[in-house]
């Protein structure tokens, strides 16, 4: 493999438009008066280097190469012919210029954002205190709760699943617990409570597998709308809110809903 300066440079291009923009700027051209022939030759040269370096040339790059070659071929046609084509529809050269201009616009926007002092990189706020052991009073919930996405739920889950290293002793598992059993365990934890913190739902789980089953059981109850979840502070602790049916212990109802579902799966 040759030690050409391309080796380092090529990997920098995010896509064909990025490469094209680089070539336009390197040649000190204006996008509006881009010289297709010059740019096409250099673009193809780059693709050749990429292949020589065994870089997998993505199909997007090849599509752009075809577009450039087409545009170049158009410039060789008599002018009158080109004009009729322009009347028929969007001028493909104009279209490419627009795409380049637009791409350049967002790239510059990204460069400006890059220079902004960034939280957790350049500037820092106070970190949250070890808040998770102290639940805010329920009375404070007169304030609206924050609606969070399933991604927040997954983030809370990864915090639970991480600090549980597998014990060094080798044990043979008897096959673990089922989701139905997981639901039952979870229901015990939730019984009679207005609210339970996410972490606390997992205190009975001893193995990683049990933690996972508990989580699946939790998702199942959420799906059946027997359980809802929310945060008090952005990025803070996730809380679960059992529905009335769980609080009042209508387990027969709930198991019926679960059984029904398992029958459907069969």
């Amino acid at each position: 493999m040759s030690e050409s300066p391309y080796a380092v440079k090529l990997s920098q291009f995010e896509g064909p438009l990025d490469l094209l923009l680089h070539l336009v700027q390197k040649n000190e051209m204006d996008i509006q008066d881009i010289q297709i022939a010059t740019i096409t030759a250099q673009y193809l040269e780059h693709l050749k280097h990429m292949k020589a370096q065994n870089i997998d040339v993505a199909s997007d790059f090849l599509v752009m190469a075809a577009t450039l070659l087409y545009l170049k071929s158009r410039t060789l046609l008599p002018v009158s012919r080109v004009e009729t084509e322009q009347e028929e529809g969007v001028d493909p050269e104009e279209e490419l210029k627009q795409r380049l201009l637009e791409y350049q616009r967002y790239k510059e926007g990204a460069q400006k954002l890059e220079q902004f002092p960034r939280l957790f990189r350049d500037v820092f706020p106070r970190p949250p205190l070890a808040q998770d052991d102290v639940d805010p009073p329920l009375a404070a919930e007169a304030q609206p709760l924050i609606d969070i996405s399933v991604y927040d739920l997954v983030r809370a889950f990864s915090a639970v699943v991480r600090p549980r290293p597998t014990p060094p002793v080798h044990r043979i598992n008897k096959g673990g617990i089922s989701v139905t059993l997981g639901v039952r365990l979870l229901l015990q934890q939730l019984h009679g409570k207005e609210r339970v913190s996410f972490q606390r739902c997992f205190t009975v789980a001893t193995t990683r597998q049990e933690v996972v089953v508990q989580f699946v059981a939790m998702l199942e109850l959420i799906r059946l709308q027997l359980l809802s979840f929310a945060q008090h502070t952005p990025g803070g602790m996730v809380y679960l809110y059992p529905s009335e049916r769980i609080r009042k212990g209508c387990y027969a109802d709930i198991e019926h809903m679960l059984d029904l579902k398992e029958h459907l799966d069969d």
Partner: protein, 188 residues
């Protein structure tokens, strides 16, 4: 003698998230003008005295933040979230920020490359959120920036995004389409 400015400083110091004007009003029970004056004085003092922290207005709230000059020392506490973004990720984030709400297909058309993995990274970092589904064939997900995005880049609202180069077209200025109201719960 209770000093409102020092009180505001104390409250902001002890809070781990940005506090909105409404929240400060509720805490201190004084009117907005008095608070604004105290906040201005505090901001001015932090600047003037060359302190390690500055008072910044972000995502519709106020927060004490460290000065960028001291990042290298704070890094040594090794307790912070990682907000480093690759060039591709910053580019994708910029497209979402300026074009929101936007679908993945629209992002990919602009960037000319597959962007699914990057969008997922941005979702995981909480900088981007799913804002719903587009009323189009296939009902694709539409993406928008989160309150976290404003906080991370120190913006008070989307109106504070740096302006982009003019496209010299008759295209609708998308700024008029954007919704500047924060849609998530306001910081407290």
């Amino acid at each position: 003698m209770i000093d409102l400015k020092a009180g505001v400083e104390a409250v902001l110091f002890s809070s781990d998230s940005a506090l909105s004007m409404a929240k400060l009003e509720q805490i201190f029970g004084v009117d907005r003008e008095e608070l604004r004056l105290a906040l201005q004085q505090l901001q001015h003092e932090c600047q003037q005295d060359g302190r390690g922290v500055v008072l910044q207005e972000v995502a519709g709230g106020f927060q004490l933040r460290t000065r960028p000059e001291y990042a290298q020392w704070i890094m040594q506490l090794k307790r912070t979230r990682n907000m480093n973004l690759s060039r591709a990720a910053t580019e994708t984030l910029a497209i979402i920020a300026y074009r929101q709400p936007v679908t993945r297909a629209e992002i990919e058309a602009l960037r000319s490359v597959d962007s699914g993995g990057i969008v997922r990274t941005l979702l995981e970092k909480d900088l981007v959120r799913v804002a719903g589904k587009k009323d189009a064939p296939g009902r694709p997900l539409i993406y928008a920036t989160s309150t976290m995005f404003l906080e991370v880049f120190g913006l008070n609202s989307l109106a504070d995004l740096p302006s982009l180069r003019d496209l010299r077209t008759d295209e609708l200025e998308f700024e008029s389409e954007m919704n500047f109201e924060p849609e998530e719960g306001e910081p407290r």
